[in-house]
């Protein structure tokens, strides 16, 4: 019931946003909205950044939708997400994650509702970059397995602070985008294995960092790191890392490819594999 209300509220917001869209895309430079992270917010692939989705600036709106697939050794993750940017001030997002347990059997589905507020600054123009705070409310739809392995809850809320800044003419004349995110979370494997555990029930403060080189104004390569808590006794949880490349065909379409190393997940080690994500923006 609650889930239905949530989805309907997001659709209503999207409809209102679309109705007031100007004909052109947002005015911010191409790529300055990042891509869609797996939890729905604008960012890299694994970590939310301080930038807001799309290229909307003040007085403008942007709506983005993304489809993502990660193929790991023993798992496959599919994510569908939508996000809206209101005046480059507030971002609202919704994502549906579907993790297939190829080796263990079964699936774990989770919905993530996000909000991100730009507090101050600008990725390109402000000397301190752009700084935002965000929340991600996560609800598991498949709850039996997380409970069985010791998770305390099947829903939880992450809170994060993120800063992003573009540095000009850094490496071989290229601009470099740096992002740092601090997150307070109880999530096990991002929430797909529930929240809190037998070893640690409370919140952990974790750090996430991304570094991206703009080879051309439209082509980016970079690395990401996402620190993780380790709450469950039955299996170790590792930090996530990836190398990625993204190409922005224009302000409306971007394609991201990555190589992920997610470490040990639910007792299965060395979860590595490819990642591809397509984002469209209006």
């Amino acid at each position: 019931m609650m889930r239905g209300v949530g989805v309907r509220a997001v659709l209503l917001v999207l409809t209102l946003g679309l109705a007031s869209l100007p004909a052109a895309a947002g005015s911010r430079l191409v790529g300055t909205g990042g891509v869609s992270a797996i939890e729905g917010a604008a960012g890299g692939g694994l970590s939310p950044w301080a930038v807001l989705t799309g290229t909307a600036s003040e007085g403008e709106f942007a709506v983005t939708a993304a489809a993502t697939r990660a193929d790991l050794s023993d798992y496959r993750l599919d994510v569908r997400g939508v996000a809206i940017n209101l005046h480059d001030r507030l971002e609202l997002s919704a994502a549906r994650q579907d993790l297939r347990l190829d080796t263990l059997g079964g699936r774990l589905r989770q919905d993530v509702y996000g909000a991100k507020l730009r507090m101050f600054g600008d990725l390109v123009y402000h000397p301190l970059g752009v700084w935002s705070v965000g929340v991600q409310h996560k609800r598991l739809r498949d709850r039996d397995l997380p409970r069985a392995v010791g998770a305390r809850d099947t829903r939880g809320t992450d809170v994060y602070l993120a800063g992003s800044k573009l540095f000009f003419d850094v490496i071989a004349g290229r601009n470099v985008l740096a992002n740092l995110t601090l997150r307070s979370t109880r999530a096990n494997q991002g929430g797909l294995l529930g929240f809190g555990g037998d070893e640690e029930s409370g919140r952990s403060l974790v750090a996430e960092a991304s570094l991206a080189v703009m080879l051309t104004p439209r082509w980016v390569v970079g690395v990401e790191f996402r620190q993780k808590p380790d709450n469950l006794g039955f299996a170790r949880e590792d930090h996530w890392r990836d190398v990625f490349t993204a190409y922005f065909f224009n302000k409306h379409v971007s394609l991201t490819g990555a190589w992920l190393d997610l470490g040990s997940i639910a007792g299965l080690r060395n979860q590595r594999g490819g990642y591809v994500s397509l984002q469209v923006a209006f």
Binding site: S27, L29, G59, D88, V124, Y125, A172, G173, P217
Partner: protein
């Protein structure tokens, strides 16, 4: 073996140092093509502004020759060329024009395209864009 390795490293260092030394002795102004390069850049940029309906209205009461000369002088000064900017400060020059970030973004986009179109090398292009981006705070102060 070790000596051989160090010789290779030293040689590689020398080879790497040559282009770096040549590049660092050139000012950004020279890398933009000096006076002729900056003049061509400003002309290209100005035509792009003239063709942009979001921007062109701001120039309705502007003497374009004066604007072009002033922008050339400013770009020359900001890129360490042999000029001193004699125009008004950036906040006064744009006072109460009703500029938004959307307008500023459009200007940056036009400058970026003009730099690419003029064939300015990527390092000089991004260095100039970085120096111009720093003007944002002053230009927007009195809006």
């Amino acid at each position: 073996m070790l000596v051989h390795f160090f010789r290779i490293v030293a040689l590689a260092g020398l080879l790497a140092a040559v282009p770096v030394a040549a590049q660092s002795s050139a000012t950004l102004y020279e890398r933009l093509g000096g006076q002729a390069g900056v003049a061509a850049l400003v002309e290209d940029f100005t035509w792009r502004l003239a063709g942009d309906e979001r921007i062109v209205g701001f120039f309705a009461n502007t003497n374009i020759d004066h604007f072009v000369a002033s922008l050339e002088e400013q770009l020359c000064a900001i890129s360490d060329g042999p000029c001193t900017y004699t125009g008004p400060p950036m906040d006064k020059a744009h006072q109460n024009m009703g500029l938004t970030n959307a307008h500023f973004n459009a200007l940056v986009e036009h400058m970026q395209r003009a730099l690419i179109e003029r064939g300015v090398d990527v390092g000089a292009r991004n260095q100039l864009l970085g120096r111009l981006a720093r003007l944002h705070g002053e230009i927007m102060r009195l809006q």
